[in-house]
Amino acid sequence: MNDGRGTGGGAEAALKEALRREAYRVPAGPPPVDELLFRGRRACRRRASARTWLLIVAAVVAVGTVAVFDDDPVSRDSASTASDTGVNRFPAPRAVAPYVPMDLGGGLRLVLLPDGNQTYLLDEDGGDIQDEIDEARMGPGADLRPESIRSVYNASTGLVLGVFRKERLPARIGIRVPGVGTYPAEVAHLRGDTSWGVFHAFVDPPETAGGDYEVVVFDRDGDITARMNSPFLGLRTAGN
């Protein structure tokens, strides 16, 4: 156990011999080459899919805006109060474990990671998600500025998915679609870390092309602490 290859005397030799006996106990059969090729190709496809999602988000961020939370509520007008939106019925934030996929429905799974800055992963493949987690761990994450929020809409699934970074955890978040209604968003954050989190809701876009949806953030008292308009862009993907 020095700096060499550990070929020293009695104890090491005995340990090596014991380990080899244990390792060789079960003979190795032939490798499942076809199965490995199948898994490898599938992992490549998933990786490409995950990258597509990241590119969509990045592109949207590049042209979008980032809403900045105010210390004071941005609006207390009667048209946006808690009672008007029924915000008290919205689900409260839930703490989740890192690396554990949350089933969003529709074959979508969301994973929050402690690596990087505000790192999360959306999987729409439904298979082994581990490769995508490994990939996401290497990335920088959403990397939001303090007190900001970002969201993206995916037309194929109807999912509005967002991420926030805020000193105080939002109590509720809703997605308002003009002419349609306000959808309660589910909010999740990593257990033991309330400095950031994600939210999502499945929404119906307006009948006509274009238009905005609005992310509305509430505090514990039901007051709005931030709102952010995001367009349902022509390519049916929007975000801030």
């Binding site: 156990m1 020095n2 700096d3 060499g4 290859r5 550990g6 070929t7 020293g8 005397g9 009695g10 104890a11 090491e12 030799a13 005995a14 340990l15 090596k16 014991a18 380990l19 080899r20 006996r21 244990e22 390792a23 060789y24 106990r25 079960v26 190795a28 032939p30 490798p31 499942p32 080459v33 199965e35 490995l36 090729l37 898994r39 490898g40 190709r41 599938r42 992992a43 490549c44 990786r47 690396y99 554990v100 581990q130 490769d131 987690i133 490994d134």
Partner: protein, 184 residues
């Protein structure tokens, strides 16, 4: 991946499969999980095959993928491993009973924290140097040394293991391995 690269990958799989399986067996403690782990690691290697081919030591790269995959597997399964100073009462193993003796060592390895276990396997089964192990685990040589010392101490503290493991002296106080010492 193009056809040529895929052929290289297949050749790698065929040539490394038995060895990877042996390493994985000691990392996971059983053959079934070992096969799953090796397959997962090789599937990851397939995705990053261009990096594997460019690596100075392709084996080290893939072995590192496997060790990380094992750590992730355990985290996802929420496997909780913890050292204990108390073990089930067992009769002293008969040294002629090879199967029982090997099981004792496998069980003892599973009681080690994952990093210590990986260091032991890489050092003593794979015969990698401390420098190589440090590179494979993404850590420092000093950390490898301390992991080795702690792991060996933990193993020595287990009577079943020291009985099974002829040539290894019982645990002693103090830090560090006892290279070269032999059981009297």
């Amino acid at each position: 991946m193009n056809t040529s690269a895929e052929a290289d990958f297949q050749a790698f799989v065929v040539s490394r499969w038995p060895r990877m399986l042996r390493t994985a067996r000691l990392l996971t403690g059983n053959h079934h999980d070992a096969e799953d782990l090796v397959q997962a690691a090789l599937a990851k290697a397939y995705v990053k095959w261009d990096k594997v081919q460019r690596a100075d030591d392709a084996d080290a790269y893939v072995w590192r993928v496997m060790i990380n995959a094992n750590a992730d597997r355990m985290r996802l399964l929420r496997v909780r491993e913890w050292l204990t100073t108390r073990f089930p009462e067992t009769a002293a193993p008969d040294r002629t009973d090879g199967v029982a003796a090997r099981s004792v060592l496998a069980a003892a390895l599973q009681r080690l924290p994952p990093r210590q276990r990986a260091v032991i396997v890489l050092r003593y089964l794979e015969d990698r140097s401390e420098t190589e192990v440090a590179r494979m685990l993404g850590t420092r040589v000093g950390t490898v040394r301390s992991h080795t010392a702690r792991a060996l101490r933990s193993l020595r503290e287990q009577p079943d293991v020291t009985e099974t493991w002829a040539g290894l002296p019982p645990a002693r106080t103090g830090v560090g391995p006892v290279t070269g010492e032999a059981r009297p």
